[in-house]
């Protein structure tokens, strides 16, 4: 089976400011991530885990090495091609939710569909369906500021789902949430994974990583550990439904 994401000798370095010191965020990372798994990326701050996420999310380009997503060499893609890939193949979930503050939940979820040229009507219908999937159909016309942190993150997940991607990349998805809400979010993500979506999530919390099938640990820009585990099942978000 071909891996969904294939990284070979991935390196990323950048300078702090014009004449600043060169930072080696990644120093040669080779790894395959297969479809259908929940992979947790762990490591202390500055270990390169976020840089790795940005690279496989096509938000950033590596200094050297190759990334293949769905067997396509990302380096061969134009900027427009990368945008199309982000639009159709990858959904992002961020620690700070990154919702548009002035747009309603519905408009936020519909955002990726704008760039797909869907009609306003189709966008609404589609977005409403995604919101229902994360249990927020009644909050469709609320703005992010009128929603709790957990609700905001679920809107963000619905936005990631709007593109119907095969891959969701979540950077510290529970980092800004309390532990009960964190478990709800993890339950939601596990459910999506059960529906066939591959999940890569960055976390520095051991408890969150326990919900994953595989844990990859970064330190100083290199992978220092890579192991599979039997994942802990997150309790279904029963408290939420009540």
């Amino acid at each position: 089976m071909k891996p969904l994401i294939e990284c070979r000798a991935l390196a990323k370095s950048y300078r702090l400011g014009e004449k600043g010191a060169e930072i080696h965020a990644l120093r040669g990372v080779t790894i395959d991530i297969y479809a259908g798994e929940i992979t947790a990326i762990m490591g202390p701050s500055g270990s390169g885990k976020s840089t790795f996420m940005n690279l496989i999310g096509c938000l950033d380009t590596p200094t050297s090495g190759t990334i293949r997503i769905e067997d396509k060499d990302v380096a061969q893609l134009s900027d427009d091609g990368l945008a199309a890939l982000r639009n159709r193949a990858i959904g992002f979930v961020f620690q700070q939710f990154n919702l548009l503050p002035r747009a309603t939940a519905l408009d936020n979820v519909a955002l990726p569909l704008i760039y797909r040229g869907l009609s306003a009507h189709a966008r609404r219908a589609h977005a409403l369906k995604r919101l229902a999937e994360v249990g927020l159909a009644e909050r469709a016309h609320h703005r992010p500021t009128e929603l709790s942190g957990g609700q905001q993150q679920r809107v963000a997940i619905a936005r990631a789902l709007a593109a119907e991607p095969r891959l969701i990349l979540a950077d510290e998805p529970t980092g800004a949430l309390d532990s009960a809400t964190s478990i709800e979010i993890m339950a939601l993500l596990q459910r999506l994974n059960d529906q066939g979506i591959t999940l890569v999530l960055v976390t520095h919390e051991q408890e969150i990583a326990a919900y994953a099938d595989r844990i990859i640990v970064f330190r100083d820009g290199r992978i220092v550990d890579d192991r599979h585990q039997a994942r802990r099942q997150a309790a279904p978000a029963s408290g939420d439904e009540a």
Binding site: G57, L59, D60, D80, F92, R102, L111, I114, Y115, A120
Partner: protein, 412 residues
């Protein structure tokens, strides 16, 4: 990404900072308003001038008795009349290469009485050439005939204003009017002409045969002997050089009046059409001046838009990052900011149109200037404003499009 969606985002973004958007538009508003006022006033002035040239008769040249230094004292009737009917005939006869017709005229003023009504007006003693030169036709009745001119017949043709003042709605034809005790029978009514360039009512006039004016009404013996006239009105042929014609006429008159070289003219030549055209030129200069002001204002407005768009791009860097993350291409981002900038400018242009139209009408009311609003110029202005938005919005939009997605996302 559809234009509709882009527009919706742009409107939302402008609404989020309504006051700032409004202030940003101000330069464009002022610029466009200035353009609209400029065009409205310019068109109005041009239209009025055209009407005036038409009312005077095209290619009109006038010769007045007495030298330019005497013009102020022309009221001393008789003593200063240096032109004669023969001068007029000579101009018509000898300068036929330049002149279509030359009409001698004697001017006077006085009270005209008809029954109980009376009206103070200006009267002219004229020959049939007068109607040709002034391109004046009759609304009713007939012109003077040869016998009436030669015989100093007691007949008159009334201007519209005089006819209205004396006879109201009634028919003035065959009625008798008295001027300085001389009874005249009305044989015709002139077509309406409206206002002269200097604002006087051209229809406030009474015409009679030149002989009648000289012998019966003005009644001066010196006038009778010399066949003197107050002015000669000349219609030049279509297409002749006005300067050249003017020189020829001056030459002929100086020769006829036996003026020595170095001696001042004893008459004043005025090219009425040229005077009007000169005025049109000066109104054009005025228009250019306003256009300059307007374009400076539009330029400043454009720079204001550019400035605010840069601020907007910086403020919304994170939003740009989010959009890029979910699949917006660089050109989607560029287009969004371009649409926003041009929308800002177009709305400014629209408001400017309204302000300009309102301002023009108000100006017209306050000053009495003729105002002519044109829809075409308004559409053009809004379009131009939008173009300015696109032009000055391009650099900020380009900056937004070139942001790297990850740096934009990390922006705090």
């Amino acid at each position: 990404m559809s234009l509709g969606a882009t527009l919706a985002i742009a409107i939302e973004a402008l609404r989020a900072h309504a006051l700032r958007s409004l202030l940003t538009m101000l330069g464009i508003v002022i610029g466009v308003a200035a353009v609209i006022v400029m065009i409205a006033v310019g068109d109005g002035a041009r239209r009025q001038l055209e009407a005036q040239i038409k009312s005077l008769g095209a290619n009109l040249m006038m010769v007045f008795s007495a030298s330019p230094t005497f013009t102020g004292a022309r009221a001393a009737v008789g003593s200063t009349f240096t032109l004669s009917e023969e001068d007029a005939f000579a101009i018509g006869r000898e300068l036929s290469d330049y002149v279509a017709a030359a009409a001698p005229a004697l001017r006077g003023s006085g009270q005209i009485v008809a029954g109980n009504a009376n009206w103070s007006t200006t009267f002219y003693g004229v020959t049939p050439e007068y109607f040709e030169v002034r391109e004046w036709t009759l609304a009713a009745g007939r012109l003077f005939d040869e016998a009436e001119i030669n015989g100093a017949a007691k007949v008159a043709i009334l201007g519209q204003t005089v006819a209205r003042e004396l006879f109201g709605e009634g028919n003035p034809l065959e009625q008798t009017v008295r001027i300085r005790t001389v009874p005249l029978t009305v044989i015709g009514v002139l077509a309406a002409k409206g206002q002269s360039p200097s604002g006087t009512d051209l229809d406030d006039v009474l015409l009679m045969p030149i002989t009648t004016a000289r012998n019966r009404v003005l009644g001066s013996t010196t006038l009778a002997k010399s066949r003197a006239v107050g002015s000669i009105q000349i219609k030049l042929l279509e297409g002749v050089d006005h300067k050249e014609a003017e020189e020829k006429i001056r030459e002929l008159l100086r020769q006829r009046h036996r003026l020595q070289p170095g001696q001042d003219d004893d008459f004043t030549l005025r090219n009425m059409t040229e005077i009007l055209q000169a005025r049109e030129d000066s109104s054009k200069t005025m228009s250019w001046l306003l256009a300059a002001v307007a374009s400076v204002s539009l330029l400043v407005g454009g720079i204001g838009i550019m400035n605010i768009m840069f601020v907007s791009v910086t403020e919304r860097t994170r939003e740009i990052g989010i959009r890029r993350a979910v699949g917006a291409r660089a050109k989607d981002i560029r287009r969004q900011f371009l649409v926003e900038a041009s929308l800002l400018a177009a709305i400014g242009g629209l408001i400017g149109c309204l302000v300009g139209a309102g301002g023009s009408l108000l100006l017209g009311r306050l000053t009495g200037w003729p105002i002519e609003l044109s829809l075409g110029s308004m559409l053009l202005s809004v379009g131009f404003a939008a173009t300015i938005g696109i032009f000055f919005g391009f650099t900020p939009a380009q900056k937004a499009a070139r942001l790297s997605p990850i740096e934009a996302l990390r922006h705090e």
